[in-house]
C-alpha cells in the first residue's frame, strides 16, 4: 500500500512539475510576444506596411490634357490615422521628375488632377505615389507605380509609339483582366441601359458588386475611348517593380528620420560638420516664414545630427527660412534638408502594346486637344473640401511691450535715426562704422542687457542689425520691442526687436552661410471631372464642340455587399467604341477590375 501511495505521489509530482514547466513556458512566450508587439507599436514606422493604390482615368494622354487620378490608402497595422500626407510624382523614362505634388488624404482617399504640360515629350511615364515612411530604403517596394503613355501634341512622327501586331486590344485587355479577376476571385459587374448611343446621349450605368464575403472598400469608374487604354506587354511589371536605391548622401538617414506624417508635413534634415561631414548633435535649427506676426520655431539635432520640424498648415505656400543658432554651434556647420522627392526610383519604362490603330488615334487626339484649347474647354472642377486644419502659428510672443509706427512721425532717413528718435528702449552705438545694439531692461530702469537683442525683419531672423540700418520710415510699417529677458522653450533672448516692412524688405537680406531658404510646400487641391450636362440644352452648349475622349470619371464610389450603384453621363461628339473600366479595392486590400463597352455612332 505504501509502495502504491509512493508511486502515486511520485506520479503526481512529475505531473505537477510538467504543469509548472508548461505554465512557465507559456508565460515566457507571452512576455516575448507582448514585448515584440510593444516594440512593433513603438516602432510603428516600419511594421505598419501602409499600402497606397493609384488609379488614373486613362493610360494614354496627349500633352496639354488633364490626367485625373484617385489615391486610396490601406492603413497598416499600427498606424490608424485618417489624415495622411502622400507624395505623387510624374517621372519620365529618363528618371527625371516632371511633377512633384503633395496631397493630404481625406479619410484615406484623394482625387485630383494633374495638368500635363505641352512640353512633355512622347514616351512612357510613371506616376509614383508614396508616404514619407515609404522613402525608407526598406520600404521602397511599397511605393505604388502606375505607367501611362503621353504623346506630345506637336509630335508628328510619333516614333515613341512602338506598334505591336498582336490581338485586338479589347481581347488582350479583357484577357489580362480576367486573369487578374480569376486571381482575386470576383469583380463587380457593369451594365448599361443600351449598347449603342448617339451623340450627346445619356448613358445609364449600373454597377453591381459581386456577392462574396468581402465588400468593395473603394471603387472608381472611368469611361473613355477604348484606344485610351493600353495593355502592357507580358514582361512588363509596372506595379510590382522593385526600386533600387542608388548611393546617395541620404542613404545613411536613420530610422528616426522617416516620420509618419499623419497630420502635418515633417521637414527632416541634418546638420553636419563642414569639414568632416559628421553629424553634429545638440545644434539648434530655427524655422521662420515671412509674416505679419513674429512666428518662430526651432528643433534640436539628435545624436546623429538629424532634426525634424513639423510644418503646420500655417507654413504652407510660404517660403521657409532655416538657420542655425550660432550660440549652439561649436564647429563650422552645414545645414542639409532632405528632399521629400528624392526617391531615386529606377526609371524602367513600361512597355505598352500599341495597336496599328493607335497612331491614327493619337494623331486625331492631338487635333482634338488643340481644338479644345482653342475653345478653352476645361472640365475640371475644384472640390470645396477643407484641407487646411485650424492653423497653429508658433508665436514668439503674443503682444509686444512697445509698438511704434514710424508713419505717425516725421520721416526719418535710416534706422539709426529712427531708433534714436522713436525707440527709447533701444540703443544703437556706432563702433568702427558698424552698429551695435543694446536693449533697456523693462523691469529695471536705466539698465541694459549685456548682449544684443534678437533682431527680426518680417519675422525672418537677422544675424546682423547693420542689415536693417538702411531702412527708412517710408519702408517700415511698424516696429515691435519686447525688452524682457525672454524665454522661448530652451532659448533665451536679451530683448527682441521685430521690424515689419511695407514691401517685403526681407527679400533683400543676405542669408548667412549656415542658413537655407526653401520655396515652401503646397498641397494639391482636390479636383473633380465635370463634363457637360446636356439636360440643359443651352445655345452655348450646342455651339461648343465636345471632343472628349474621357466621357466619365467618377472616383471615390463606395459600395456595400448588398445594393448597386447607379450613375449616368453623356456621350460626346466622337464616334467609336468606348470602354467602361471600374477599378476597386476590397476591404482586405485586393484589387478588382471590371470592363464593359458600348458604341457611340
Amino acid at each position: 500500500m505504501d509502495i502504491l501511495t509512493n508511486k502515486w505521489k511520485h506520479k503526481a509530482n512529475v505531473l505537477m512539475h510538467k504543469t509548472y514547466l508548461s505554465l512557465l513556458w507559456i508565460l515566457l512566450m507571452a512576455n516575448v510576444l507582448v514585448g515584440s508587439t510593444a516594440l512593433q507599436a513603438e516602432s510603428n514606422d516600419f511594421s505598419g506596411r501602409d499600402i497606397l493604390f493609384l488609379h488614373t482615368d486613362r493610360d494614354l494622354y496627349i500633352a496639354g490634357e488633364n490626367l485625373y487620378f484617385q489615391i486610396y490608402h490601406i492603413e497598416g497595422i499600427a498606424n490608424k490615422a485618417t489624415g495622411r500626407l502622400t507624395y505623387l510624382v510624374l517621372q519620365n523614362q529618363h528618371g527625371h521628375l516632371i511633377k512633384k505634388l503633395i496631397l493630404r488624404l481625406n479619410n484615406h482617399r484623394f482625387h485630383g488632377r494633374i495638368y500635363l504640360p505641352d512640353t512633355l515629350s512622347t514616351g512612357s511615364y510613371q506616376l509614383i505615389t508614396y508616404t514619407n515612411q515609404m522613402r525608407h530604403p526598406d520600404q521602397l517596394h511599397q511605393k505604388h507605380k502606375t505607367a501611362v503613355f503621353i504623346a506630345n501634341r506637336f509630335d508628328e512622327t510619333l516614333e515613341g509609339l512602338k506598334l505591336n501586331t498582336s490581338d485586338s486590344l479589347i481581347r488582350t485587355f479583357s484577357h489580362q483582366n480576367r486573369k487578374m479577376d480569376a486571381r482575386r476571385g470576383y469583380s463587380p459587374t457593369l451594365k448599361t441601359d443600351r449598347t449603342t448611343y448617339g451623340r450627346r446621349e445619356k448613358v445609364k450605368l449600373q454597377i453591381n458588386p459581386a456577392s462574396g464575403p468581402n465588400s468593395l472598400q473603394h471603387l472608381s469608374v472611368t469611361v473613355a475611348h477604348h484606344l485610351s487604354f493600353l495593355a502592357h506587354n507580358e514582361d512588363g511589371k509596372p506595379e510590382a517593380e522593385q526600386l533600387h536605391e542608388t548611393e546617395s548622401e541620404y542613404q545613411t538617414q536613420t530610422q528616426s528620420a522617416y516620420h509618419h506624417e499623419n497630420e502635418n508635413l515633417i521637414l527632416e534634415g541634418r546638420v553636419i560638420d563642414r569639414h568632416s561631414d559628421a553629424g553634429l548633435a545638440n545644434v539648434r535649427v530655427t524655422l521662420s516664414t515671412p509674416d505679419s506676426l513674429l512666428n518662430f520655431n526651432y528643433a534640436n539635432t539628435g545624436d546623429n545630427g538629424d532634426f525634424h520640424l513639423s510644418i503646420h498648415d500655417f507654413y504652407l505656400d510660404k517660403p521657409l527660412y532655416l538657420s542655425l543658432d550660432t550660440s549652439s554651434l561649436e564647429a563650422a556647420a552645414r545645414l542639409l534638408v532632405f528632399d521629400k522627392f528624392d526617391i531615386r526610383s529606377s526609371a524602367q519604362p513600361a512597355s505598352f502594346r500599341f495597336l496599328p490603330q493607335h497612331k491614327a488615334y493619337v494623331q486625331s487626339s492631338q487635333e482634338y486637344v488643340r481644338i479644345s484649347k482653342a475653345f478653352e474647354l476645361d472640365y475640371t472642377r475644384q472640390t470645396a473640401e477643407e484641407l487646411k486644419a485650424p492653423s497653429y502659428r508658433p508665436l514668439l510672443y503674443a503682444v509686444p511691450k512697445h509698438t511704434v509706427k514710424p508713419s505717425l512721425f516725421m520721416p526719418l532717413n535710416d534706422f539709426h535715426e529712427i531708433s534714436r528718435e522713436l525707440l527709447s528702449p533701444l540703443r544703437l552705438r556706432r563702433q568702427a562704422n558698424r552698429f551695435l545694439a543694446r536693449m533697456q531692461i523693462e523691469r529695471t530702469a536705466y539698465q541694459f542687457f549685456d548682449k544684443q537683442p534678437a533682431v527680426f525683419l518680417d519675422a525672418i531672423p537677422v544675424a546682423d542689425i547693420n542689415a536693417i540700418i538702411p531702412l527708412e520710415s517710408a519702408d517700415i510699417k511698424r516696429i515691435e520691442m519686447q525688452n524682457f529677458h525672454w524665454a522661448y522653450g530652451s532659448m533665451r533672448f536679451d530683448g527682441i526687436l521685430a521690424v515689419f516692412s511695407k514691401a517685403e524688405a526681407y527679400r533683400r537680406l543676405n542669408l548667412p552661410e549656415h542658413a537655407s531658404m526653401i520655396e515652401g510646400y503646397s498641397l494639391l487641391q482636390p479636383a473633380a471631372y465635370q463634363p457637360p450636362d446636356y439636360r440643359l440644352q443651352g445655345e452655348q452648349l450646342t455651339r461648343t464642340p465636345d471632343l472628349r475622349q474621357l466621357l466619365h470619371w467618377q472616383p471615390d464610389i463606395q459600395l456595400k455587399d448588398a445594393g448597386s450603384f447607379d450613375t449616368s453621363f453623356f456621350t460626346g461628339d466622337l464616334k467609336g467604341l468606348y470602354l467602361i473600366k471600374a477599378e476597386g479595392i476590397t476591404i482586405d486590400g485586393k484589387r478588382v477590375t471590371a470592363v464593359s463597352s458600348f458604341i457611340v455612332e
Binding site: L23, S310, V399, W486, A487
Partner: protein, 242 residues
C-alpha cells in the same frame, strides 16, 4: 520540501505580474518631439510679503493649453494668485518663466495633497463697478450650460507683520487668499455670484421660488464650495436661461 513547492509558484506569480505590467504599458508618445515651445519672461518675483502668493506652493506637474489649440505636456508649473500669472520651471536651466498670458487658454495642475487634477481657464469677466473687462485665470468647478468658476487670487489683507530676516526684524505686508465665483454661459458672458443662499436666489429672481424650494429640500444653504457646485448643478437642471 515546502519551500521547493513554493518556489515554482512564486516564479509563476512573478511572471504573471510581469506579463500584466507589460500588457498595461502605454504606447510611447511619438508627439513629444513636436510639443509647442512655451514663451514668457524669465522672471522671479521678489518675495516681499508674509504669506504665499501661490495657489499650490510647490511646483506641480501639469499641462499648458495654448490658444492655438496645442498642448504642452509634463511641465512644472505654479500659479501665482497675487499676480494672476502662470509660472513655468524650465527643465534644462531651471529658470522661472512667467508665461505669456495672451498665448494661454488654460492649464492643469496636479494637486499632490488631494491627489487630483485642477483645471484653470482664462476667462473674461466684467468689473461690477466700472464694467471694464479683464482676463483672469479661474479654476473650473463645473462645466455645463452655465459653468462655475472660482477666481483664486491672493491680495494684501491690509495687515503687516514682522519677520526675522538675516538676524533683523523686518516688516512685511500680509497677503492671503480670496475667492470670487463666476458663472459663465455659452456666449462667454460672466456674472459674479456670492457663496450664500440668499444672494444666490436674488441673482435668479424669475426662478427664485423653484430654486428656494429645491435648495431647502436638499438642505443646501450654500455655505461651502461643494454646496455651491450642487446649487449651480440644480440651476442647470432647471434650464434657467438668461
Amino acid at each position: 520540501m515546502k519551500s521547493q513547492k513554493i518556489q515554482p509558484i512564486l516564479l509563476i506569480c512573478m511572471l504573471l505580474v510581469a506579463t500584466e505590467a507589460r500588457l498595461q504599458q502605454p504606447a510611447s508618445n511619438h508627439n513629444q518631439d513636436f510639443q509647442p515651445h512655451l514663451a514668457g519672461e524669465v522672471y522671479s518675483p521678489t518675495a516681499i510679503f508674509s504669506g504665499s502668493p501661490y495657489y499650490i506652493n510647490a511646483w506641480s506637474i501639469g499641462q499648458v493649453f495654448l490658444k492655438a489649440g496645442k498642448t504642452a505636456d509634463s511641465c512644472m508649473l505654479r500659479y501665482d494668485g497675487y499676480l494672476d500669472e502662470l509660472f513655468w520651471l524650465t527643465h534644462d536651466s531651471y529658470d522661472q518663466v512667467m508665461l505669456d498670458k495672451d498665448l494661454i487658454a488654460g492649464f492643469r495642475l496636479f494637486d499632490a495633497s488631494r491627489q487630483q487634477w485642477i483645471d484653470f481657464e482664462q476667462i473674461e469677466v466684467s468689473d461690477p463697478l466700472t464694467g471694464a473687462k479683464r482676463k483672469i485665470f479661474a479654476q473650473l468647478l463645473l462645466q455645463d450650460e452655465l459653468s462655475l468658476y472660482v477666481y483664486r487670487y491672493v491680495r494684501e489683507t491690509g495687515a503687516t507683520t514682522s519677520v526675522m530676516q538675516a538676524g533683523q526684524l523686518v516688516s512685511r505686508r500680509v497677503i492671503g487668499p480670496e475667492y470670487q465665483y463666476f458663472l459663465l454661459d455659452k456666449n462667454g458672458d460672466s456674472r459674479r455670484i456670492q457663496m450664500n443662499r440668499r444672494s444666490f436666489l436674488q441673482s435668479f429672481p424669475e426662478k427664485r421660488r423653484e430654486l428656494r424650494w429645491e435648495l431647502r429640500r436638499m438642505r443646501n444653504r450654500i455655505r461651502n464650495e461643494q454646496q455651491l457646485v450642487s446649487a449651480v448643478r440644480l440651476l442647470n437642471a432647471l434650464h434657467i436661461n438668461e
